[in-house]
């Protein structure tokens, strides 16, 4: 399946910003499942691409002239191999056993994981876990925020794809299965539409397998991968800070425009 992507993100600030810096993970790389035919970022100024600690392609955009808007565009074509289920990598998966603030497994999550999987540590066990989490946590936009942890969202019984993924990671790691956060795009056939999305990967039989809790999909046929990490903070497409009129840096961005994404299936 060949996907064409055109994705523009615009940040408008209420006050003029004196300086800003953004970590951009908006460029997919080749893997067993996906082949990048062409890709281009449109940025306010040229930036060198580099690899981050997780092997993602990263651009660090620093702007130190006063500005009120930042517009970031991403365009390209990627072939997805829908038949390939798992991806192999030479790096050790063990670092993906550790918990982070967003993926800490509290008593409730540990108990839930143990109850869903019992002694099983295979793919079917994690598929059961995926379905279980989907039923426990109703997809509810607005119920959680970017900084909501897995434990908080699980306790609230609702969330979006980020919360589903965090909860899955917390459970898998509590079972001793390395698992990581994936951010990317999901193509949905009904609406001929591509949306920013997040799902999980778990390390089983020496390969990474996908688990999309939100859509209850264990085969990543319609998923384009941008970046991986321990949690949302490592893998999110844009993470930035700005220095405003006052002296402090602001950790959060004011996002007023929703991303516009178009796609044609060929």
């Amino acid at each position: 399946m060949r996907l064409s992507i055109s994705h523009e993100t615009a940040y408008h600030y209420e006050d003029q910003v004196r300086a800003s810096i953004q970590y951009l993970r908006l460029t997919p790389h080749d893997s067993e499942r996906q082949h990048v035919l062409s890709w281009q970022l449109d940025l306010p100024r040229p930036v060198r691409a580099q690899l981050d600690p997780f092997g993602n392609i990263l651009h660090v955009l620093t702007l130190d002239e006063p500005h009120e808007t930042v517009i970031i565009g991403a365009r390209g074509q990627v072939d997805i191999d829908p038949l390939r289920e798992a991806e192999h990598e030479s790096q050790s998966a063990l670092p993906f056993l550790r918990f982070t603030r967003l993926t800490e497994a509290d008593e409730a999550l540990r108990a839930f994981a143990a109850q869903q999987c019992q002694q099983r540590r295979d793919r079917t066990a994690l598929i059961d876990l995926m379905h279980g989490l989907n039923q426990h946590m109703l997809y509810t936009p607005g119920a959680t925020a970017v900084e909501t942890s897995a434990a908080q969202a699980f306790a609230g019984g609702s969330g979006v794809c980020q919360d589903h993924t965090h909860a899955f990671l917390a459970c898998a790691r509590s079972l001793g299965v390395p698992a990581r956060y994936v951010s990317g795009y999901l193509f949905s056939e009904e609406s001929e539409h591509l949306a920013s999305h997040a799902w999980a990967e778990a390390w089983l039989d020496d390969a990474w397998y996908s688990f999309d809790v939100t859509n209850q999909l264990a085969r990543p046929e319609r998923h384009l991968k941008l970046a991986v990490g321990l949690d949302y903070l490592d893998a999110c497409p844009v993470r930035g800070m700005r220095r405003g009129g006052c002296e402090q840096m602001h950790a959060k961005l004011v996002v007023t425009a929703a991303p516009v994404i178009t796609v044609q299936q060929q």
């Binding site: 970590y23 580099q50 550790r98 903070l233 800070m241 002296e247 840096m249």
Partner: protein, 469 residues
């Protein structure tokens, strides 16, 4: 059980050890009033100079004086040379371990350290994987904590490879002793230590491939417990003391904001933990770091001393493997001993620990500063029971060691002079060569019988002498 201890000044028969003879004579000849007066003078001078620290969790940020004891801890030079070689050997092996861990991981493949123990450790930083450092040095500045058991044998208690502190007290204690009792330094040859800041600057400069790099000290700020030391070292080295907000990154290069515009920074002696260095890469709530710093570092445009990710090597769960590291990387026998350690993560060792809590010292694998530890022989039954539950809930977070007696040194207390337990932290600098200034910081537990020497737990300090014997 606390065994009968080793005293630094007196042997088992109560005779003064040879390297303390000159001091003992002086002490006997000096009137008590004069000593008391000099001690008051020392307190006043320390207070005036603002040589203070702040306690964690103290919301008023009250500055306290670290009690200074005027009876020095003295080490014969022949004994010191062994300790020195041992510390250098250890730091070399630890740096080789870090370089290996972040590259080929030979030690894991050789089956010496379990992969999960280091790779799943929170202190293992993926950001360091495959990154080449100048001279392959990760820990440029280390503080090796040593104690002596009942027979006087030195043991390494822990290796501090992140941001070890205390060197300013070592230097100020010496200055104070020379000011109060100059006659002592005339009477015998005591190895000088005041060139430490020069060695530190030399070490920092040699960590960069540039000829004359611009060096700064990065502090979390004036409310940090060790701020005095950060300012002290910056001043002694003649470099800028900066906070995160004084630095910024433009196109992968680090600059500081000056009255004359941006100025490039090449080496950062950072006294800030990994998690706070770059809010865009680590803890997003950190207001202490510099956004973009990680990628400037990964691009090789700036040196961090110590490097990111050194904590995996001084983690208490990795500590038991250090002697094996020395054998593996250097093909040498360890000069300094490790304290036998039980890892609660292993079920067999856990049950031994739980069965023997009243005799053991239990520590958090990632704790420091004497917080969150249990000293079995000094604890009440209730405290032991509470700790037992904590260990059971999170066994992987604890290790246990036998209670060492810790050597004692005569110390001024309310009713005259009495023995108190001490430890020793020599500071090791790794650059073109690996060096240690003679002695180090001696910390003393001022409460009778106490084995906890940390300043946050009521410990004091002593000047540390290496004397020709």
């Amino acid at each position: 059980m606390i065994r009968s201890g080793f005293d630094e000044m007196y042997d088992a028969n109560g005779q003064v050890r040879p390297h303390y003879e000159a001091f003992a004579r002086w002490l006997a000849d000096t009137p008590d009033e004069l000593l008391a007066q000099r001690r008051r003078e020392a307190d006043l001078l320390f207070h005036r100079a603002g040589i203070t620290f702040t306690l964690y969790g103290d919301e008023q940020g009250t500055e306290r004086l670290i009690p200074f004891d005027t009876i020095p801890r003295s080490i014969p030079a022949s004994e010191w040379r062994v300790v020195e070689r041992g510390c250098i050997q250890r730091v070399k092996a630890l740096n080789m371990f870090l370089a290996d861990l972040y590259h080929e991981q030979r030690i894991i493949r050789a089956g010496i350290i379990p992969a999960e123990q280091v790779l799943a450790n929170e202190q293992y930083q993926l950001a360091m994987q495959g990154l080449d450092l100048h001279r392959d040095i990760y820990a440029h500045i280390c503080g090796v904590d040593l104690v002596r058991d009942g027979d006087g044998t030195y043991y390494v208690l822990e290796d501090n490879l992140r941001t070890p502190s205390g060197v300013s007290y070592m230097l100020e204690d010496r200055k104070m002793m020379m000011r109060l009792f100059p006659e002592l330094f005339a009477a015998q040859r005591i190895a000088p230590i005041d060139h430490y800041p020069n060695l530190l600057l030399d070490t920092l400069k040699s960590s960069s491939p540039l000829d004359d790099p611009s060096v700064v000290v990065l502090t979390p700020g004036r409310f940090n417990s060790a701020f005095f030391e950060h300012a002290f070292l910056a001043r002694e080295m003649g470099v800028e003391l900066v906070e995160g907000a004084d630095l910024f990154v433009r196109d992968d290069k680090v600059f500081m904001r000056t009255t004359d515009g941006p100025k490039a920074v090449d080496v950062i002696y950072r006294r800030l933990d990994d998690a706070f260095l770059d809010p865009l890469a680590f803890n997003p709530d950190s207001m202490l770091g510099v956004p973009g710093l990680l990628y400037s570092y990964r691009s090789g445009n700036v040196v961090l001393a110590n490097a990111i990710g050194t904590g995996v090597a001084d983690d208490k769960s990795v500590y038991p493997f250090v002697t094996d590291m020395i054998r593996f990387y250097l093909d040498e026998e360890p000069i300094l001993k490790n304290v036998p350690t039980w890892q609660c993560r292993n079920p067999a060792e856990l049950s031994h620990v739980l069965a023997n809590l009243p005799e053991l010292v239990v520590k958090e694998t990632q704790g420091s500063g004497g917080y969150g530890m249990l000293v079995g022989p000094a604890a009440t039954t209730a405290q032991i029971d509470a700790f037992r539950e904590r260990i059971k809930a999170k066994p992987h977070a604890y290790i246990a060691q036998p209670t060492l007696s810790l050597s004692t040194c005569p110390t001024f207390v309310e009713n005259g002079i009495a023995p108190r337990h001490i430890d020793l932290r020599p500071f090791v600098l790794a650059g073109r060569e690996t060096r240690v200034v003679p002695g180090g910081l001696t910390r003393v537990a001022l409460r009778e019988g106490s084995l906890v020497v940390n300043s946050s737990q009521g410990g004091g300090t002593k000047d540390t002498w290496v004397v020709e014997d």
